[in-house]
Amino acid sequence: KLNIGVDIIQHGVEGLVYLLTESSKLMASIPFDKEFGISEVDFQDSIHVLGFSDELNKSLLQLYLDNRKEIRSILGELAPRLPSYHSLEWRLDVQLASRSLRQQIKPAVTMKLHLNQNEDQTAQVLQTDPATLLHLIQQLEQALGEMKMNHCRRIVRNMK
């Protein structure tokens, strides 16, 4: 419909994509918005060197502003990741007998840990005894407490 070669359109699209992703990815210095990538001024300065018309520059800027949040969140998904926590199901079991020993009372907590890895969900069945469960809770509560400690707060505050 545009009467231009396929190659030119492909290059055009690729160029646009590069422009938008790089702008969204980088954060220039002040003034900037933590959520949204480089500032308007920086963007305008950067594309100015390309020598397009003012009208085109304005359209590009608008395109950038409209889409940068979404682009950043998509780029965020691409980073290397470990499986991430999704949810946990649990139940209490008591083993009453087994082939090797009758008349037992052995409590256990059986859990199903749901994890996400790159859009696949895995479920792992795990078990633990009451003593270890209490230990797990204590350790993980300590972990949560760390975020509230001054050390962490200072770093989060200063690294922005």
Binding site: L82, Y85, W90, S100, Q103, L126, L136, A143
Partner: protein, 151 residues
């Protein structure tokens, strides 16, 4: 047993039979949680004299608890969690996205297999909210346990 100097005069086959018989008797008694009178009666039926029965029963009583623990640990179960380690990190940037500024936790569960003993650990990352969810659920389980033991 085959190397014991006190027993070297006895035919090894007989020794093996004795050992197997004693082991079977002990394991069955342990499995069924048999009391002393039941064991004595059983041994009487096998025509053992009183002195030997008494000796056997005394030794059995001494080791009964250890035996129960051993028998109870045999058997299949899902992967057993033995410990947990965690790491709190603050991400600054990655090659796809700069200035990410996100704290996250990396949790590793040490697990054991009932058969082979070791198993690769299970690791996963989570946000603070997700960790709070996890800890909340674990605490629910613990509370349930407490209530169950009071019933």
């Amino acid at each position: 047993i085959l190397d014991d100097p006190d027993l070297k005069d006895i035919d090894p086959t007989v020794l093996k039979h004795c050992h197997a018989a004693a082991a079977t008797c002990i394991l069955e008694a342990g499995k069924q949680n048999a009391d002393i009178s039941a064991i004595s009666t059983c041994l009487e039926d096998c025509k053992l004299d009183k002195e030997r029965i008494e000796q056997f029963c005394t030794e059995y009583q001494k080791n009964k608890d250890a035996l129960e623990i051993l028998l109870g640990s045999i058997g299949r179960s899902p992967l057993h969690i033995t410990d947990v380690s965690w790491r709190l990190e603050y991400q600054i940037k990655n090659n796809q996205l700069h200035k990410t500024y996100q704290p996250s936790y990396l949790v590793t569960l040490n697990v054991e297999n009932s058969d082979s003993g070791s198993h690769p650990d299970i690791s996963f990352s989570c946000t603070m909210e997700q960790l709070q969810d996890l800890v909340g659920k674990l605490k629910d389980a613990a509370k349930s346990l407490e209530r169950a033991t009071q019933m």
